[in-house]
Amino acid sequence: MPSPSLFFAQLFNGLALGSLLALVSAGLTIILGTLGVLNFAHGAMFMVAAYVAWWTMVATQSYVLAALAACAVLVVLGMIIERGIIQFYYSRPPEDQILVTFGIGVVLVEVIRVIFGGISHSMPVPDWGSGIVNMGFLIYPKYRVLALGIIAVALLALYLVLYRTRLGLIVRAGIEDQRMVGLLGINVKRTFLAVFALGSLAVGFAGAVYAPIIAVNPEMGEQLLVQSFVVVVIGGLGSFPGAVIGGLIAGEILTLTTMFNPAYSHVMLYLAMAVVLVLRPQGLFGVEGRE
């Protein structure tokens, strides 16, 4: 049996990974729910954001600038991708959408590789985040604790956008019944650009906040993409609460299983997904009957 302190450490690691998965998956799920497009470039966009943050941090020594730059670049990148490519795929079969977004992801990864090379970089932790915190039961890097708080604030901000604004109301309704929203006089297609930009902003912010924690390299988004898909399935397609709860569950499953045997961590994650699919096919917070 692992010692209690290791257990607490892993529990906390799970929370950290879970909050990251929650924010990344939230972006993925609102794009999928609203636009109907499964964005296979989402992981690559996370990676681009981390590179922008790393590069800006090294160049300016400013964490705030790094985060802002990552968000700005990702919003613009998201808008270019939606207007330039994805908008022509809304009425095409899902295979085409998967292929084109997967292709966008490959292009992003290779462009980054050409510019920065294939090696890993590490983004320095900002001064206010260096050192450790002693939480009594656990000694933990300070930045990781702060990152958890920053992600929580970002999730809260996303919640407010979805639940307190006009755009959020249209998005939540459109995820459930886009045709009815149209029948009520709303041009749903006009919100697609904003939704894609919002999803890109979420993943961009996540990439910036996590860049100092993980190795920044061209492949860093791949595993995260797969994990986020599982989170979306567990939480329910298009559901923001589902992405948050699903993200935390997935984070804990991955880290707690790693404590016993790392080789089984993803097996357990897929097992959890299978159990959810059997007991509640629409996901924990999904809407029943949606295609």
């Binding site: 459930e176 929203v181 149209g182 029948l183 009520l184 709303i186």
Partner: protein
């Protein structure tokens, strides 16, 4: 000029031809019933007016403008409102949010939330409940409430009383009659012919996608042979 003038519309679902040169009109402040057997083309007619189904031929003039071929959201903004058969309340939104959603693109002279709640006090009581937790009758009130808050010039009711208990039907009927007295224009499709005739001033009968009869509700009530021929089973 009539509020709604339909001339020779034809509609298809894929390869099957559903509506054949359908003509009809609805005057302002009038309640018109569209009756017919199952599969006669009643719902398709409403969907063709609203742009959910795009007519392959023909004209739909609404409030002086040709709207055939326009997307549903544009037609809704001009003041036509379909209350669909399945009601399509957004289940994850509360009653109030459902109304808010409907009010987003409504004009300035639209009904206030208070007025809708006054008209349907039950909705006021349930304003925080989620759409999927409502009973069938409450969902229908909310579906009509969404049309009211948009101040629709013409409300298309598709089977509004379907699947509801008789006492609920009576209440909803009274509500619709009150709206009609206040000048609301309706085009109603209903299997329950007696209910439809009580509500309507004028009726159309449709069979196999062809309009086969037009007349006042009274005249139709007095023509059992017509009813028998086109509505009898």
């Amino acid at each position: 000029m009539s509020l709604l003038e339909v001339q020779g519309i034809n509609s298809h679902y894929g390869d099957s031809h559903i509506l054949f040169d359908v003509d009809m009109r609805v005057e302002a402040n009038e309640v018109v019933a569209l009756l017919g057997r199952n599969g006669a083309g009643k719902s398709t007619t409403l969907k063709s007016l609203m742009g959910v189904v795009t007519p392959t031929r023909g004209q739909v003039r609404f409030d002086g403008q040709d709207v055939a071929g326009r997307p549903p959201f544009e037609i809704a903004r001009r003041g036509m409102q379909l209350v669909p058969e399945e009601r399509r309340i957004i289940g994850t939104l509360s009653v109030h949010e459902n109304l808010k959603l409907a009010a987003l693109s409504a004009g300035r002279d639209a009904w206030s939330f208070e007025r809708v709640y006054e008209f349907f006090p039950r909705l006021q009581e349930r304003r925080r409940s989620r759409g999927k937790d409502l009973s069938g009758g409450e969902q229908q009130m909310l579906a009509i409430g969404r049309a009211l808050i948009r101040n629709a010039k013409l409300i298309l009711l598709d089977e509004p009383f379907e699947g509801l208990a008789p006492i609920i039907v009576r209440d909803l009927m009274a509500s619709c009659q009150q709206l009609a007295r206040e000048g609301q224009t309706f085009l109603v499709v209903e299997q329950n012919v007696a209910a439809a005739l009580r509500l309507a001033d004028r009726c159309y009968l449709i069979e196999n996608g062809h309009m086969v009869y037009e007349g006042s509700a009274e005249a139709l009530r007095d023509s059992p042979e017509v009813m028998d021929r086109y509505l009898g089973v």
